[in-house]
C-alpha cells in the first residue's frame, strides 16, 4: 500500500500554538510520526542570564500562562537549593495552596479541550464553567486570575489573610461538589469510554525509555511524582495520594487528571485549614546567593518542571536551564501514535497536554537588539523558497 503523509500544523485549528507533525499513513493507519519544533523564539534561558534573580522569577512566570506558578516555584527551589535556604512554615502552606489551585484549573482546562477535540462540547462547557470559581480563588488570594506573582526566594510575596479563608473554603465546597459530579459523569460516560479506551496506548516500557513525566507517566503505571519523591514546601505535611493507572491509553490519562483534581482539592482544604492558625512571617530575608549551583523542580500539572541555576556570587545567574514537562512528553508520540487510525491520532497528540511555548523556551528572540526585521520580506522569501522546492524552478 502507498505511504502518504498528512501534515498537521504548523498552524492548525487543533493546535493553539505553532507546531508541526507529519503523520505517515498507510490507508487510515498511522505508521510513523515526525515532529518539528522551533516555531517560537522566546529566549527565556538567554534573557534570564542578564537579569537579577528576583527579575528571573518574573521572567519564568511568563514562560507559560497555565503553569505560571510551576516555573517560578521550580526557579525559587533551584535558587534556594544553592544555599539550602529555609522558608517559613506559613509560606510553605501558601506555596502548596497556589500550586494545587493551579493543578485544578490546568486539569479542567485540558479536560475541556479534550472534550472539544473529540466533538463532545458539553464536557468542554462544563469543565470551563467550573474552572471559573478556581480563578476567582486566585483573584481573591493574589489579585490576579493568571500570573499571580506570589513566589519569592525565601518565601512568598503575599499573605492569605485569615478573614478571607471562610470565603475561600465556601468556594472550595462548591468546587468539590461540582468536581465529584463531573468526575462521576465523565467516568461513567459511555461516549468517552468508547471514544478513548484503548486509544493511543503508551506502554510502561516506552514511558520509562522516553523519560515521560506527570499524568502521562502515571497513566502508564509509573508511580513518579515530585510531590512525593522530593517533598518540598508543605507536601510532607499534608495527606494526599498519587493517582497511578495501568493502561496508558487516553482514557486513563483523563481519569488520572480527574482523580488528581479531587486529591488537589483535599490538599487545598488542608492548607486553608492550617493557614487559619499557622503564624507568619511569610518571607525570610535573603541577602545574597553564594557561588554554587542548584536544582529546583516542582510537579506542574503536566509533570516535573526542572530548573538548574548556576551562580557566581553576583546577583544574577551564570546559567539558567529550564526544562518543561512537555519537552519530554511530546517525544512519546513516537511510541503512542504508531499503529492507530488517523482519527485517533489528534486526541492522542492532545492527551499529554502539550505546551509548546514551554517546550521552546530557550532560543533568543529575533534580533533582540535594535535592528528591525521586515516580516513581509521574510514571508515573501519563504513563499519563494517553497515555490522553488515544489515546482523545482
Amino acid at each position: 500500500m502507498t505511504e502518504n503523509k498528512i501534515p498537521v500544523g504548523p498552524f492548525h485549528p487543533l493546535l493553539e500554538e505553532a507546531e508541526y507533525f507529519e503523520l505517515k499513513v498507510e490507508g487510515e493507519m498511522v505508521v510513523d510520526i515526525d515532529m518539528e519544533i522551533g516555531w517560537m523564539h522566546r529566549g527565556h534561558e538567554f534573557i534570564s542570564e542578564s537579569k537579577a534573580f528576583t527579575q528571573s522569577i518574573y521572567l519564568v512566570e511568563r514562560i507559560c500562562g497555565i503553569c505560571s506558578t510551576s516555573h517560578p516555584l521550580a526557579c525559587v527551589h533551584a535558587i534556594e537549593d544553592i544555599d539550602n535556604i529555609e522558608i517559613p512554615m506559613r509560606a510553605r502552606y501558601i506555596r502548596t495552596l497556589i500550586g494545587e489551585l493551579e493543578r485544578v484549573h490546568s486539569h479542567l482546562l485540558w479536560l475541556g479541550l479534550a472534550g472539544h477535540f473529540i466533538g463532545y462540547d458539553t464536557l468542554w462547557m462544563w469543565a470551563w464553567k467550573y474552572r471559573e470559581p478556581v480563578l476567582e480563588m486566585f483573584e481573591a488570594i493574589s489579585g490576579n486570575r493568571n500570573h499571580y506573582g506570589m513566589m519569592r526566594v525565601g518565601g512568598v510575596a503575599k499573605d492569605v489573610e485569615s478573614e478571607k479563608i471562610p470565603h475561600l473554603l465556601q468556594i472550595l465546597d462548591e468546587i468539590d461538589r461540582k468536581m465529584e459530579m463531573i468526575a462521576k459523569a465523565a467516568h461513567d460516560d459511555p461516549v468517552l469510554k468508547s471514544r478513548l479506551k484503548g486509544v493511543g496506548v503508551l506502554k510502561k516500557a516506552d514511558a520509562i525509555a522516553y523519560c515521560a513525566v506527570g499524568p502521562t507517566a502515571r497513566a502508564s503505571g509509573l508511580a513518579i511524582d515530585v510531590r512525593k519523591d522530593e517533598p518540598s514546601d508543605a507536601y510532607d505535611l499534608v495527606d494526599f495520594n498519587i493517582v497511578v493507572l495501568p493502561n496508558g491509553d487516553v482514557y486513563d490519562k483523563l481519569v488520572v487528571r480527574l482523580l488528581e483534581i479531587i486529591e488537589s482539592n483535599k490538599i487545598i482544604r488542608q492548607c486553608l485549614e492550617q493557614l487559619k492558625t499557622v503564624p507568619g512571617p511569610i518571607l525570610n530575608n535573603v541577602k545574597e546567593i553564594t557561588p554554587g549551583e542548584g536544582i529546583g523542580r516542582y510537579e506542574a500539572p503536566r509533570g516535573e518542571v526542572f530548573h538548574y541555576i548556576k551562580s557566581d556570587g553576583t546577583n544574577r545567574p551564570v546559567r539558567h536551564k529550564v526544562r518543561a514537562p512537555s519537552y519530554v512528553n511530546i517525544p512519546t508520540f513516537m511510541a503512542s501514535c504508531k499503529g492507530i487510525p488517523v482519527a485517533d491520532a489528534l486526541i492522542t497528540l492532545a492527551a499529554v497536554d502539550p505546551c509548546y511555548c514551554c517546550t521552546e523556551r530557550a532560543l533568543r528572540v529575533v534580533n533582540a537588539g535594535s535592528e528591525h526585521l521586515d516580516l513581509l520580506a521574510l514571508s515573501r522569501a519563504k513563499t519563494e523558497q517553497l515555490r522553488r522546492e515544489i515546482y523545482g524552478k
Binding site: P10, E36, G38, I295, E304, A362, V366
Partner: protein
Amino acid sequence: MDEVQQFLELMGSKLTRVVQKPRRLYFYIPPEEVLTVADYLFNQLGCRLSTATAQETYDGIEIIYHFSLDRKGQYFCPRVLLNKEQPRVKSIVPIVQGAIWIEREIFDFWGVEFEGHPRMERLLALHHPENLDKPLRFGRQV
C-alpha cells in the same frame, strides 16, 4: 548501603571533583566514560534522565546530565568537559531514548556533536528566520 555510596564505590575511580550535597551528587567523568556511567545510572539504578545542561566555560564546553533517582529524590549529575574547537562526545540515545531531543538541542545551540545519535539535526533553530550558528556560544550577538 544506599545508592549513592554504592555508586561511589563502584564508579569512584572514574570520578573527579565530586561534590555531595543533600540529595545532589555532582561529579566530572572523562568523556569516554559517558556510556558506562549512563548505562549504570539508567539501567542498573533505574534513574530517569531529567535533562542535560550545556554551558560554555573558559575551559571548554561542559555538559551536565541530570539523572533523577525518583524513589529517593536523589540527583546524580555527571559532567563532561569537551574541547571547544571540536566538541564531540558519544550519544547516550542508544541507552536513554529520551535523550534524543536533549542532545539535538545541545548540538543546535553549542555545536556539540553526539557520535551515534540517530538524527543529528537542528531542533529549535531549525525554522529560525536567521541562519543561527551555535547561538549560545561565547561571542554571540545580542
